[in-house]
Subunit: 330 residues, 2 copies
């Protein structure tokens, strides 16, 4: 049985990142800061209107897998690309990070998923995602040996937007728990938490998920409250560990009666927030699987997020292990 | 007749940019700092070995066209992509900058050109270019109205590596001169200047080219001398204007008896030198077509190059007009 630290499951997406002003978001009906789901026609239209971009492999769980590997962890990934040029780029990039990725690519249509990401001058990213081949990820893509052999299985809430992926997740989580492993998830986006509230709550409250990553907007959306404290109290009760990020205010980790406050890393310049939450999860999970305490897990998460928001693109260009060692965190 | 400030002609290339150490270049026989021409098989091999990358539209003359447009100039471009996904990305990006680009894409093989660009920790880029569809650019792609209607026609020396493009260039230059326009070229790369020395010298000495862009290595290679001063004296004699860049030492512009020394712009951090020369040419040419003196042209070139080497990717993310205005250069 292969042994991995973290198995991530998510949408395999290539990001197309461009700058725009706030007016562009308004004119084109794009919800700022959110992940807007779009179809192929709207993807064509928006792309024709947006500025010149750069392309980089992305997708929440894929970014987390790449981050874990960059810290030196053994990571694996399940996700569906098509066997087209973007799919080849995605596969190259995640393999180049040392992540085990063997999901069979889709032959033919739909094409590999892409997210048109618009970064406003404040560094906030607004995503417009055409899921393409991702909708074909299903239970037949669950590699049982990886699901049973990874210390943690981590998946993204975004998968609930694709019909067959949730079945794959339920199966993977069951295999993981049967092998006495942990399961974590990210709520992904406050609108995603709203769309799938009942199922997310059921996953968390039933113990199918042990560790939850979310930001403050997402837990408030999940528990339908405007009070952060109330939402935090609710999630503390519902799961084993919750790590809740709060942008420049850092993060809060709750675990039974324990509460750990983590400061945000000082940054020189906020360039692009894409991938911040994914990098946080990578640092936290790497700390967790190497037996560190919650404070150290949170610090590693905060550190990785701090690096990724100072660059364009969702996966840190810098080697996270090297950088964390230089900073005395590892 | 359409009126353009600058018409650029060059290889239409998508850059795939990754970091590596110097050891990787040695192990893989990549000439550091140079443009290494590779075939499809070697492109596959190198790509499988290199790290995860980002993709961005590139190509020397295309970068210059994008730069001129970013300064607010009217730019056009001739170059050949294939009608594949990378070709669509290339076309989108140059159109999004406002550059007129109407060259008919190639249907079918070979695919759109790509350059595997490896950036070492010192910020130097080493390029490995598979020319793909670029080899199909030919005289039939010359749009006479644009060639006659642009104040300057600018082309890259790299085009001499493709069989039919040089005929397209000769035709474009003739149309430009017949309409009393100027023609400029970049020597592109010292090995390129070596490969095509006789033809480059013939172009410059015959007056087919009025303005030459080069760096110090390239003019030394062209004139087969180790002395910068000697090479500078030779090029001063051979063409109307030569703008010679010298990395952190800035640039020197010679024009008949006049010599203008331009300082390099102060930078905070050298990230990636890709596109520095192309950005310099964009700034210089924008200054030239708007009637500025050589000192101001050089300062605009230096300014644009300084911006592009502080980011990943060959075309400045920032709007050059806005930045130059903020700095009091426009």
């Amino acid at each position: 049985m292969p042994h991995y630290d973290v198995l991530c499951v998510g949408n395999a997406i290539v990001d197309i990142i461009a700058h725009c002003d706030d007016e562009f978001l308004k004119t084109n009906g794009i919800m700022k800061g959110a992940m807007n789901l779009i179809d192929a026609t709207r993807a064509e239209l928006l792309y024709s209107r947006m500025g010149d971009g750069i392309e980089a492999s992305g997708g929440s769980a894929g970014n987390t897998a790449a981050g874990v590997a960059s810290f030196g962890g053994r990571a694996a990934f399940f996700g569906k690309v098509s066997s087209d040029p973007l799919g080849k780029i995605y596969t190259h990039d995640i393999h180049a990070r040392g992540v085990a990725f063997d999901t069979k690519p889709l032959e033919g249509e739909p094409p590999t998923a892409r997210s048109l990401i618009l970064v406003t001058p404040d560094g906030e990213r607004s995503m417009n995602t055409y899921l393409g081949a991702c909708v074909e990820l299903g239970p037949e893509d669950v590699e049982a040996d990886k699901a049973s052999g990874a210390k943690i299985t981590h998946f993204e809430g975004y998968l609930w937007d694709t019909a067959r992926a949730k079945e794959a997740i339920r199966q993977t989580a069951m295999l993981a728990h049967a092998a006495d492993r942990k399961v974590s998830m990210t709520l992904s986006d406050s609108f995603c938490a709203e769309r799938h509230r009942d199922e997310f709550l059921q996953l968390i409250q039933s113990g199918a998920v042990d560790i939850v990553f979310a930001n403050s907007h997402e837990i408030k959306s999940l528990y339908q409250t405007t009070s952060f404290e109330e939402a935090l109290a609710a999630i503390r009760k519902d799961c084993e560990i919750a790590a809740v990020t709060r942008s420049e205010k850092g993060s809060v980790i709750v675990c039974s009666n324990e509460t750990v406050i983590i400061k945000a890393t000082d940054i020189k310049e906020l360039v692009d927030t894409t991938g911040a939450g994914d990098a946080y999860a990578a640092g936290f999970l790497y700390g967790y699987v190497t037996g560190r305490n919650l404070k150290d897990c949170g610090d590693l998460g905060s550190f990785a997020a701090g690096l990724v928001i100072q660059q364009i693109g969702p996966r840190s260009w810098k080697n996270l292990r090297h950088e964390a060692e230089q900073s005395g965190l590892l």
